[in-house]
Symmetry: C3
Subunit: 363 residues, 3 copies
């Protein structure tokens, strides 16, 4: 594919300048850009590196003096990262999956596929599954019994969707995403050591170790519109009701959602985050990589948590959190600074005790 | 499927009251329950929400005055979560996998399958593999060379079992569970920077960076009876002997077991826990989500660790642990509280120093 | 396969003693070794356990008095773990994958496979893919559009390689490794709450919650020679340029590399480590299990981080780090010790305040 400068600028609602009929093949970083690339230099600090490449056209910051940079054409944008979204969507070459249903796919005769659904090689579509118009089911994917996938889904290779999963429109599943496993829910015949330790904050009391009996997951997973699930991420079915992921929410690679979890709309759940069973997450929540959320707690709308934060109890809406255990970010940063002074503090207190109480090194 | 109130109560060893011949189709939360659902309200706090739904039958706590709740039938249970195990097992609709060997599956003629084993579409069973009676091998599963799976296994879609893996009876594998990869074991020709840093607790000394040479895994994985492995969980083969998972132990999604790890019986290993090579875990151990266990350490019977705990050294039997580094839970909670007072403590010590030593703000 | 003591010693460059024509079938731990096993007892502390087994031959430490241990033959080695690498490579029975292209595999006619490439059952090789001589593509693997894999690759079952991925020689992919998903990169139309919180270290200011728009990944993944990727590990494509993994680097199970990450040569990245987008990792870096690396930071050559360390900001070359947030290991260990004294310190300061200021328990 090739694109003219004019086409791209128009698609982004941006300003095209110079030889706007010039065609480009792809985007490139300024220093690596050749004469048929669109160099991406949307910040003045990248201007110099344009000279290291041989780009004739570039996407630049608003107000850039593009001609002095030796370019023949330019696109000026006001919010660079947002312009990147439009540009990359336009020129994404994709994965090259073929249209139609590959002859090696196993599509149950009782599955309902809209006319233009494509199914890759060695995919399995089970009985009763329903897949909306325009959806792409990638190679080696699995769609389970009665599972529903809305229109315009794009499943990369090896995604699996179990029974009782319902997914809205415009879903994206990255390779190996796993939706609809059974919840991790086990119980002992008599009260367990874990129940005792939870009640007492640590004391297992007289509880006796016992084998675990399984609670089956009768619920499913309900996923809204415009959701994306990363590589190897896992979402468990609910026990009685469904596990829920709201519209516009995105899960990164290797994220784990336990049974009965409810996540609101437009959340970003970064790589390797784990959310334990029955936790409820509001709208517009952002959890940095490797965060953890305890079971049965509530995280309010708009909460943001830095990487590695372990949310152990309810968090009110709007808070920005950090650390293990999670603390408000400003207090946590103050705490980290205080901790670094702790070894000296111990020495100072020993000196004070000596001066005040005339003691030596204490016991 | 439908079930009578009498049938369900009998299966649970519970008391059925009222119109015990009434049939229900499924279980539901009280507020969402319709007239053909069994509402689950096993705690008095859920009694009110029964009125929001239209259930005619409910599972209730022992001693509940079911008639005053407007129900036609009720099942009274003494330990609600344990009753949930029996109920959900009874009415689980499952995944709808078909019986028999799907014609698209690749089953090596040298594999030994008991007569009633079912194998899903596009599954691979390798030469020498042995699969016990009543086992279900789901769609797109892989069973490797000479691997053994006991009777009554249930493998969901896309589970893989490598060579030299032996699994006992009643195994459950969730989608994408991975058993029998090679261990992560590498060595340098001369002593490495890591060896130096471990010995000195941080000083890499004169050790020189070198390339890594692979130690192959000649051992396998040995899994007992009644084990369940979660979605995307990974278990490495041992180096010389086997990696071992004991009877009754359950691993949640995305758990990682390194090579040579030995886990005892009836452990619960929650989501995203990582257990490094050659660690030994006792019986009845419960590790909360995202716990980590250092390589080559020992965790005693009955240890419980809260979410995110990093177990860096041996832990005696019976301890309840929390934090990074892991500390006994009661001490860790006291420590967290103390830490929050640290900024004020710094100010207080500065005041004391000023008063006692007549110093200003110290250097 | 059987091996003589002489053959093994020769392959390891080690000393063979006694009946060097004796043949063994496999290696075993001393206590479990039978008469046709090579017992591995390369440390004097394992000498005693030789008596518990019935080995006639053993691999021993340099200078061992092998005859007094009742053996008929011995191999003496100077660096045991390095000898293990050579021994285990020599006698690894492997996975038993068949040579040739399995008839159930879907190999696109436009893919280029060197003559001796083997492809397992139900694998998919897409159009334009190129696979080097001697490579083994395991059962149910996926190789995407135009993807390149160098010579002598060994892909275990269910590995997936997306479009725009280029891999060097001698690659090893463990089961379910996922390479070439799209990066997790989203932007809002106006400045977001996350941007505000990052600038202010916690204050979300007046930023308004908005839906997320996707930035597509146009870049690929470039992997050097001699790289190994663990089970379920995930590597995202870059946004414009490639995500890069250098020669000789090894990734353990469930590791996550975000978009644009660059990792140098000969690094060891242990289980469940997460490296966020655009982080740059030097050469010979070792990250213990469950470490996290923030986005857009730099980790210098030779850095070693203990298990669970969260690297939140740049780390100069050669440092050994521990903790959350990451601190130099020796300082972190001192800090942990100080923390344990904190509850007592609080009491001591209260006493001092009482003595000096004549106050009671403070407010």
């Amino acid at each position: 594919m090739t694109y003219t400068i004019e086409e791209i600028a128009k698609a982004l609602g941006a300003t095209a300048l110079g030889d706007i009929s010039m065609t480009i093949d792809r985007a490139a970083e300024p220093a690596m850009a050749g004469p048929r690339d669109l160099a991406l230099a949307m910040n003045p600090k990248y201007a110099e590196s344009l000279a290291l490449g041989t780009a004739r056209a570039a996407m630049l910051w608003e107000g850039a003096d593009w001609q002095s940079l030796g370019l023949d054409a330019a696109i000026l944008v006001s919010r660079p990262r947002f312009a990147m979204a439009g540009l990359t969507r336009m020129i994404d070459p994709g994965q090259g999956f073929a249209a139609g249903i590959h002859p090696s796919a196993c599509v149950d005769p009782d599955a309902e596929l809209a006319d233009d659904v494509s199914v890759g090689p060695l995919a399995v579509i089970s009985k009763g599954a329903r897949i909306g118009a325009g959806s792409v089911i990638g190679p080696q994917c699995f769609v389970g019994w009665n599972a529903q996938i809305g229109p315009n889904a794009y499943l990369r290779e090896a995604v699996s969707i179990g029974a009782r999963v319902r997914i809205g429109a415009n879903f994206i599943g990255q390779p190996g995403a796993r939706i609809g496993g059974d919840g991790f829910s086990f119980v002992t015949a008599e009260s367990s050591t874990v129940e005792a330790a939870r009640k007492s904050l640590g004391d297992q009391g007289d509880a006796v170790a016992q084998p675990w009996t399984r609670i089956h997951s009768l619920g499913g997973v309900r996923i809204g519109d415009d959701v994306e699930i990363g590589m190897g991420a896992t979402i468990d079915c609910g026990t009685i009701r469904d596990t829920v992921v709201g519209d516009g929410t995105k899960l990164d690679n290797l994220v784990h959602l336990g049974h009965n979890v409810v996540i609101g709309q437009n959340c970003l759940i970064c790589g390797q985050v784990g959310i334990a069973g029955s936790a409820v997450i509001g709208n517009n929540v952002v959890l940095g990589g490797q965060c953890g959320v305890n079971d049965n707690i509530f995280i309010g709308d708009g909460v943001i948590a830095g990487g590695g934060t372990k949310l152990m109890s309810n968090v009110p809406a709007g808070r920005t959190m950090l650390g293990y255990p999670a603390t408000q970010m400003d207090k946590q940063v103050e705490l980290y600074k205080s901790q670094r002074r702790l070894p000296r503090l111990l020495r100072e207190v020993a000196e004070l005790r000596k001066a005040v109480f005339k003691t030596g090194k204490d016991d």
